[in-house]
C-alpha cells in the first residue's frame, strides 16, 4: 500500500519514515511479537500465581504463632539465625521490586484483553448474562479482579517497599487496624485467589498442559481442582486475616503502636 504524502494516516508518519516502515513491513510478513507477548503474559501470570500461593503460606505462619511469623520474616530477610537475629530488610525491597516488575508486565499485557470501550464492555456483559457459561463468567471475574488488583495490588506493593523494615507480627497487624488498611487486604485476598486460580485453570486449557488421553474429562477434573484450591486459599486467607486483625486490635493503644514484637521480647527488631 502506498500513501500520497497528504494521505498518510497521521501526521507523525509523514515526518518519520521509520515509523511507517515498520507498519508496512507487517503487511509483508506478520510480526512475531504477538506470539511473544502471549507467551510472556502467560508466563508472568503463572509466576505471579505461584508466588501468591507461597506468599499466603508464609503470611499464614501467624496462625501457628507470633514467633513463627517472626521467624519466617527474618528468614526471608536473609538472617542466618532467624530465631535470634534480624536479617537485612533491604532484601525485602529488592524482592518487592522484582514482584512489581512481574506485576506490571503481566498487567500491561493482560489489560490488552479487557473491553476497550463502552460498546465492548456492554456486549461482553450481556454475553456473560446470556450464556450463563462457567468459563465465560469466570473470565469476567478475572477481568474485574484484575482491575481491582491493578489499583490495590500496586498500593500494597508500594507500601511494602516503603515499610520493608517494618514487617512482623505486631507491625504488620498495625497496618490492618491502626492504619485502617483492612478493607484493602480483604479485597486483595478475594481478588488474588479468584483471579489466580481461574488463571491457572485457563493456562492449562490455553496451552493444553494436562490434556492426557481424554482432554474433556481432564478439563472437568481441572475445574474441580480449581474450586478446591480457591476454597482452601480463601479459607486460609480469611483465618490469617482474622489473626492479624485480632492482634491489631489488641495493639491499637498509645504506647504499643510502633513497638515491634521482637523488641518487646528483648531482641533487636
Amino acid at each position: 500500500m502506498r500513501y500520497a504524502d497528504d494521505m498518510a494516516p497521521w501526521p507523525a508518519v509523514r515526518r518519520n519514515g521509520d515509523g511507517m516502515k515498520s507498519l508496512l513491513e507487517d503487511q509483508v510478513r506478520k510480526s512475531r511479537m504477538p506470539a511473544r507477548l502471549d507467551f510472556i503474559q502467560s508466563a508472568s501470570g503463572l509466576a505471579l500465581a505461584l508466588f501468591m500461593w507461597v506468599h499466603l503460606l508464609m503470611v499464614s505462619s501467624i496462625l501457628i504463632s507470633k514467633d513463627a511469623m517472626l521467624f519466617v520474616t527474618r528468614m526471608l530477610e536473609g538472617s542466618l539465625n532467624p530465631s535470634e537475629e534480624a536479617g537485612w530488610p533491604i532484601l525485602v525491597r529488592f524482592a518487592v521490586l522484582g514482584v512489581l516488575f512481574l506485576f506490571v508486565l503481566h498487567a500491561v499485557l493482560a489489560m490488552r484483553k479487557l473491553p476497550a470501550n463502552w460498546k465492548q464492555w456492554r456486549t461482553m456483559r450481556s454475553h456473560v448474562k446470556m450464556m450463563k457459561h462457567g468459563d465465560t463468567t469466570q473470565w469476567w471475574v478475572q477481568a474485574i479482579t484484575g482491575i481491582a488488583m491493578f489499583f490495590f495490588g500496586s498500593a500494597h506493593l508500594l507500601i511494602m517497599y516503603a515499610n520493608n523494615d517494618k514487617i512482623g507480627p505486631y507491625l504488620s497487624s498495625e497496618r490492618f487496624v491502626h492504619y485502617g488498611l483492612w478493607p484493602m487486604y480483604l479485597i486483595l485476598l478475594f481478588a488474588v485467589e479468584l483471579h489466580g486460580a481461574v488463571g491457572l485453570y485457563r493456562l492449562s486449557i490455553k496451552w493444553g498442559w494436562f490434556d492426557g488421553k481424554d482432554p474433556r474429562k481432564t478439563r472437568k477434573r481441572l475445574k474441580k481442582v480449581k474450586w478446591g484450591i480457591t476454597v482452601f486459599f480463601i479459607g486460609l486467607g480469611l483465618a490469617t486475616f482474622a489473626a492479624y486483625v485480632k492482634i491489631g486490635i489488641e495493639r491499637n493503644e498509645p504506647g504499643k503502636i510502633g513497638v515491634p514484637y521482637a523488641v518487646e521480647k528483648g531482641q533487636d527488631h
Binding site: P34, R112, M131, T136, R216
Partner: protein, 257 residues
Amino acid sequence: MSEAKMNVSTTAGSGQTTGRTLKINILRFNPQEPDSKPEMVTYKVPEAPNMTIFIALNYIRENLEPSLQFDFVCRAGICGSCGMVINGRPDLACRTLTSKFFLGEITLMPLPAFELIGDLSVNTGKFMRAVSERVGSWIHDEEEKQKDLDALEERMDPDTADEIYELDRCIECGCCISACGTMRMREQFLGARGFMSVARFHADPRDKRSDEDWYEVLGDDDGVFGCMSLMGCEDTCPKDLPHQTKIAYLRRRMVDT
C-alpha cells in the same frame, strides 16, 4: 444455505400432545421494515411427543404467526441452518427437544455476531464464506498443477484421515461464533470455526503450507493469540469438534514458529 426458506408442514404425529403447553418467547425484529422494533413475543404451543424447537416453530408459523422468519433445511443436524440462541445458549433448533425444558418456557433469539435477516434468521453464509477465504480453506499445493492426473493418489495414514474427517464434520452452523465472548467484542477475530478450518488443513499432508504460512493467517490478536480460552465454542459446538485441544495446539505451534 441459511438463506433458504421452505414451507414444509412438519407438525409431529397426528395431533397427539403431551398435555403440556409450551410458552415460547421469540425475539422478533425485521430490519427490512422501517417501523419494526425489537420485541419479545410469546406464543403458546401445545407440546407434541418428541417435539423439537424446529417443529414448535413450524407450528407457530402455520397456526399463529405466518410472518415468522427462521431457517432450516435438513431437520437432522446436518445442514447447519437452524442455529439460534435457545435459553441463552446457541444450539441447533432441529436437534433440541422441547422436553429438555422442565419449566416449559423457551426463549429464542437470533444468533448474535451475524447479520440479521429477520426474527430468528441470520446470514451465516456471508460470514462463513469470508472465514473460508481468510483461512484459504482449500488444499494449497504449488506443484499440484504439474501433477500427473492419472497417477494414483498417495496413501494417507488412517489416523490422519480420521483427524481430518473429525474436523470436516463442521456444519458451519455458527454456534461457536455466537458463543464466543472474544468474537462478540472484536469483530475482526477469526473465531473458532476459522481455527477448526485451519486445524483441518494443517493436518492434511496434501496441503503444503508451512507453519510460517499459517502464522500469516493466525499470528496476531485477531488470530489465535486473541482467543481468551473461554471455551464457549467447545461447550456449544453441536458437532462436538475438538476446539479445546486444537486451539491449544495451534497456539503452541504458532508460538514455536
